[in-house]
């Protein structure tokens, strides 16, 4: 493992990749927040499907020589629209995603095979390449992330209401159908950004794992998003800060940190459940028969 980690010029490096660090932080926050709804609306698989189509879009853009982020966004939005329009019910949605996902991945592989350029770019779309993205492009990523965040916060309560109980939400005047489409749009854009940073195959580590971990330790509608956002930020930021001092790509660090957070949260939740169960059993035993 010698030569994999080298933190000797860490300070200088930090300055060079400041943009990447900011991009990771933004994605961590946005991914953690949108993940709350991904988990609540049971859409983890859909996210994976969107990311493969996003990969196809990015690979296509690379092949024809247009902006990769633009290609990724187009691929994402097409997938998000198809899933959003055809898969209102979870079961329909899963099969549509199952159909879409290999198609997207195959298309992407085809585009990359036809692409005559450097192979590092090819691999990067699948597994992440944040450091390879240029400075100007990074600011686009940050801007898109901030815009998603603003819209998400603005529709937070109606979206939460729709996720909890669409019938009552509709009766209460929530435009449920419009909200679902806006949510798919936000999800598509977020995935496209995430593909740039951690790669199509690993998007779930920032869009699902933090929220899934948060739900393990609390059910409060206030604390879940706060924790999920903190976990996303910790994973993304921790991942890039370690990666800077190593020769390895950023993705494995991000995925590992977010997985460890999940394991810890699971254990905390389990321990608490067992304690609560025991206390309830004791209380029952004390009750007069």
């Amino acid at each position: 493992m010698d030569g994999v980690f080298d933190f000797s010029h860490y300070g200088d490096l930090l300055g060079l990749v400041a943009n990447s660090i900011i991009a990771c932080a933004v994605l961590g926050i946005v991914g953690g927040l949108i993940g709350v709804f991904v988990v609540q609306r049971d859409m983890a698989f859909a996210v994976h499907g969107i990311s493969e189509m996003s990969f196809a879009g990015a690979a296509g853009a690379l092949l024809v020589g247009v902006d990769v982020l633009l290609g990724a966004v187009v691929g994402s939005l097409v997938a998000a629209a198809v899933i959003g329009l055809l898969g209102a019910r979870a079961r329909d949605r899963n099969s549509i995603v199952g159909v879409l996902m290999p198609f997207g991945l195959g298309l992407g592989v085809l585009f990359l095979a036809l692409y005559p350029g450097r192979s590092a770019n090819k691999f990067g779309l699948l597994t992440g390449q944040v450091v390879a993205v240029g400075g100007g492009q990074l600011w686009v990523l940050v801007g898109v992330g901030a815009a998603v965040l603003a819209v998400l916060l603005a529709i937070w309560r109606p979206l939460a209401f729709d996720s909890l109980d669409p019938d009552v939400a509709a009766a209460r005047g929530v435009p449920t159908r419009m909200l679902s489409l806006v949510f798919m749009l936000l999800l598509g854009v977020t995935v496209a950004v995430a593909v740039q940073i951690i790669g199509a195959l690993l998007v779930l580590a920032l869009l699902v794992t933090p929220a899934a971990a948060a739900v393990r330790v609390t059910h409060s509608a206030v604390l879940v998003p706060v924790l999920s956002m903190a976990f996303g930020l910790l994973s993304a930021l921790g991942g890039i800060l370690i990666a800077i001092g190593s020769t390895l790509p950023v993705s494995p660090f991000i995925t590992t940190i977010s997985f460890v957070i999940y394991l810890v949260c699971r254990d905390i939740g389990r321990t608490r459940d067992i304690r609560r169960f025991r206390r309830a059993a004791e209380a029952k035993a004390l009750e007069p028969a």
Binding site: P158, V168, A171, G173, H219
Partner: protein
């Protein structure tokens, strides 16, 4: 926290038969349907329905599956358009999202792991249709606490809703429906799949709302748990309807005329049993199909 209020007095049937004053300063019934007709894919669910509901009145909506009970609620909520006639709430045509209506739909159990506490669900009833930064005001928090107090759900407020029993979830749903102190409560089979004790608890909560002056429309599969509280019964079947007191509607003659076939209504002490209603027999399949189509249409 809200200052403790005196517990609601036990509801007496038919409290406050006088009408409420609407926005225009004129006294109106809480809910008023005139010549209302509803058609779903060419099938008439009901037609020529006239119904005026007074404040504090409890109207049970009965009928076989697919007879249009839930569709009637959707029309009152402004989610379904009438084929003919009018629906008015306090003298004004109904519109979607009217905060003077509290609604508890047919129960879908919230699964374990749902990232919501009891109080979060109630809060959404109050703030869930508002766009903008999700910050609850003091007035919102007070309204939520009051609603939770009114249904005596203080012990459930900080528990995950997915961990609650069916009866406890129903209590939270009712708190959500009454958080804006609505003039009209629409409850769609709120007692289904509850044990007898929870059923009695829920009926008591509903009665307390009537004492406050809220009118109640209550869809029930079985009228017996609510028979004591019911002022009037609206019975829907075969595209026709009957409206009147339980004694007028729940009789062999009345229901036989409604169904167009012999239906026996038996009274055993203070319980009512309907025998021979062609519910499951040849209507059930059609009703089930309708429900499926309706669900698909709603999703499309």
């Amino acid at each position: 926290m809200t200052p403790p209020q005196p517990p609601a007095p036990p509801a007496t049937p038919a409290t406050g038969r006088n009408a409420r004053t609407g926005a225009d300063g004129i006294a109106h019934s809480v809910l008023s349907l005139a010549g209302a007709a509803l058609r779903v894919r060419g099938r008439t669910l009901f037609a020529g329905l006239d119904l005026d509901v007074a404040p504090g009145e409890f109207v049970a909506v009965l009928g076989p599956n697919g007879s249009g009970k839930t569709s009637l609620f959707r029309a009152i909520l402004g989610l379904e358009r009438l084929a003919a006639g009018t629906v008015r709430l306090l003298g004004e045509p109904v519109h979607r999202g009217d905060r003077r209506i509290g609604y508890v739909p047919q129960q879908r159990i919230w699964p374990r792991g749902m990232p919501m506490l009891g109080k979060d669900v109630v809060t959404l009833g109050r703030t869930g249709s508002r766009f903008g930064l999700p910050i609850a005001s003091r007035a919102d928090r007070e309204a939520v606490n009051r609603a939770i107090w009114q249904v005596r759900a203080e012990a459930l407020a900080n528990r995950p809703v997915g961990d609650l029993s069916g009866g406890e979830q129903q209590r939270i749903r009712i708190a959500q429906a009454i958080v804006d102190e609505p003039e009209l409560l629409l409850l769609d089979e709120p007692l289904s799949s509850l044990d007898l004790r929870s059923q009695a608890d829920i009926v008591e909560l509903v009665d307390a709302q009537r004492a406050r002056g809220a009118a109640v429309l209550f869809i029930a599969h079985d009228v017996n748990p609510i028979l004591e509280s019911v002022d009037r019964v609206l019975y829907l079947a075969q595209g026709r309807h009957r409206l009147g007191t339980p004694d007028e509607v729940l009789t062999t003659e009345s229901l036989s005329a409604l169904y167009g076939t012999r239906v026996d209504v038996v009274r055993v002490e203070d319980r009512v049993f309907v025998a021979g209603a062609p519910d499951a027999a040849h209507h059930h399949h059609e009703a089930e199909q309708d429900e499926t189509v309706e669900r698909l249409e709603r999703q499309a």
